[in-house]
């Protein structure tokens, strides 16, 4: 399965590389988009010196962790986005169902957007810059926590993209509202979760666990405490939370596939 995945993805990357100028322009476009968004955030936090008691460098840790994860998730799972939507509208999902492979796997490999690394790269630069300006005490455990956190974040965002796509089985169109949780979630968790009201905090921690993408890990790295009592050690629970959420999304996908009725002629 893995070798098949790599083969299919390899083909997608080669096909994108045929249009080199387009590829680089889009990569730069994505990096610049998230870059200028960060500049706006930095100017705002700089003007007011801190947000909810967090300095700009501390916010940079939050921002960097979420951006890296979100960019990676978009890179691997945008097959569930526009290409899948088009498939639903044309009725060509029928073809997917006849092939001897899981539909989830086929849709995921139908697209691989290397250019989304623009966002991740920009996020990584912010994260490194922030770390240089903070006296983070790097222990072995914390070094291990970082890849786990990024991977969990990526899985949470992927699950959201899958959920958005699954709604297509009923509505034929990916609802715009899912942007609230993907793009909106990424923007929301770029600031400390403690600045929001209880409703938003609880939704983004326990219903749509985007808050787990970066907040507990940042608490742990920066040795801060959450004013509402979320322990920093919750950072270690992020992989579990992400797995449960992704499993739920996978289950939802199965229900969607079973409800699929073809469109088209």
């Amino acid at each position: 399965m893995l070798s098949l995945y790599l083969r299919l993805i390899g083909a997608r990357i080669r096909s994108q590389m045929q249009y080199k100028l387009s590829f680089w322009l889009e990569l730069v476009g994505f990096a610049l988009s998230s870059g200028l968004e960060f500049v706006a955030l930095a100017i705002l936090v700089g003007t007011f010196h801190s947000v909810g008691g967090w300095s700009l460098a501390e916010v940079g840790v939050l921002y960097g962790l979420s951006s890296i994860s979100f960019g990676l998730a978009e890179m691997v799972s945008r097959g569930f986005d526009a290409p899948f939507e088009l498939m639903m509208q044309r009725g060509s999902f029928d073809g997917v169902l006849t092939r001897p492979l899981g539909s989830f796997f086929q849709i995921m490999t139908s697209e691989f957007q290397l250019r989304r690394l623009g966002r991740s790269t920009q996020g990584a630069l912010v994260f490194l810059y922030a770390c240089r300006h903070l006296a983070i005490h790097w222990t072995l455990a914390r070094l291990i926590l970082m890849p786990l956190t990024l991977l969990s974040g990526m899985v949470v965002y992927m699950a959201l993209i899958v959920i958005g796509a699954t709604i297509c089985f009923w509505t034929i169109k990916t609802p715009e509202v899912i942007n609230i949780f993907t793009f909106g979630g990424d923007t929301l968790v770029s600031y400390p979760l403690s600045i929001y009201n209880g409703l938003i905090r609880n939704i983004f921690l326990w219903v749509v666990p985007v808050g787990f993408v970066n907040y507990p890990a940042a608490l742990l790295l920066l040795q801060r405490s959450d004013p509402y009592g979320l322990p920093a050690t919750a950072a270690w629970a992020a992989p579990l939370v992400a797995t449960v959420f992704f499993a739920a999304a996978g289950l939802f996908w199965r229900v969607g596939v079973s409800k699929y009725t073809s469109t088209g002629s």
């Binding site: 387009s22 200028l36 968004e37 003007t47 007011f48 942007n179 600045i195």
Partner: protein, 284 residues
């Protein structure tokens, strides 16, 4: 009526760029675009929810950075909240992102049909855009703002400010349309201009004051922003709504907007001429 479409030579295409004075036609195009936009109820409900969510999110950020009673760069906390809801409401007129529909017709080759029709190509897309955006402003924009008014006490302007705002919005629509048209037109040269559109989009949202009021920018960056056309789309109408611009400053804002509307429109039409001479159209 002579229909120059079938031969589609350079000459007949160029004649399509000229502006025939037939306001009735453009009015009908705009009305149809208005009605078309009104049909997609799920789309605008989703749009309102998304805009309201982002506005609320930014308000929480502002509430967290402002300390009670303070005013920063001429913005009180209520100004910042009002500004946020207003700019989210203005997304529907092109403050937040560029429309892609013209680019898609260029990429598919359908553009040739529109070019060969006996109307002004620029006028056709302008009417379409105005019709659609007026609907979005009236429904999507005002409902979004109403939410801000009810839950975050976003400000309502006085009558004179509101009237000036309406004028400013009209001019902003012309500027944002012309900019979008120019960016979409690059598809004639670059078959895949997604990257250019992404970059053009973020430049618009950043320098128009959509992401952050220009008042918060460091002085040198604000100077740059004030030299660019984008403030005419978001920042100037918003400052009028906030009551930050009064008297002569309002007239100056109108002049800046009208100047940019004219310059960008001429540039867009010039570029269209140029595209007609140089370019091979896709499809068949």
């Amino acid at each position: 009526m002579e229909f120059p479409g079938s031969t589609a030579t350079g000459i007949s295409l160029l004649s399509a760029v000229r502006m025939p004075i037939n306001l009735r036609l453009y009015y009908e195009i705009a009305i149809r675009a208005f009605r078309r936009a009104s049909v997609y109820r799920a789309a605008y409900v989703a749009g309102i929810l998304t805009n309201a969510f982002f506005a609320a999110l930014r308000c929480f950020v502002y509430l967290a950075v402002y300390h009670a009673g303070t005013s920063v760069a001429g913005f009180s906390p209520n100004d910042a909240i009002t500004y946020t809801w207003l700019t989210q409401a203005l997304i529907s007129i092109g403050a937040g992102w560029l429309a892609w529909d013209l680019m898609q017709t260029i990429r598919s080759g359908d553009v040739i049909t529109d070019l060969s029709r006996p109307w002004s190509f620029y006028g056709y897309w302008l009417s379409r855009s105005l019709g659609e955006r007026c609907f979005n402003l009236l429904l999507r924009g005002s409902v979004t703002y109403l939410i801000g008014f009810l839950f975050f006490a976003a400000r309502l302007p006085h009558l004179t400010e509101a009237l000036a705002f309406v004028v400013a919005i009209g001019l902003a629509l012309l500027v944002s349309f012309a900019y979008g048209f120019i960016v979409n037109l690059t598809a004639f040269w670059l078959i895949d201009n997604t990257g250019v559109m992404l970059i053009a989009n973020i430049v618009l949202t950043f320098f128009s004051g959509f992401l952050l009021p220009l008042a918060f920018f460091p002085p040198w960056l604000r100077q740059v922003a004030l030299l660019l056309p984008f403030q005419a789309i978001t920042s100037l109408p918003a400052e009028i709504w906030l009551g930050h611009l009064t008297g002569a400053a309002v007239w100056r804002a109108f002049a800046v907007q009208a100047g940019w509307a004219l310059v960008l429109m001429l540039l867009a039409i010039r570029m269209l001429h140029f595209a007609m001479r140089k370019v091979v159209i896709q499809g068949g």
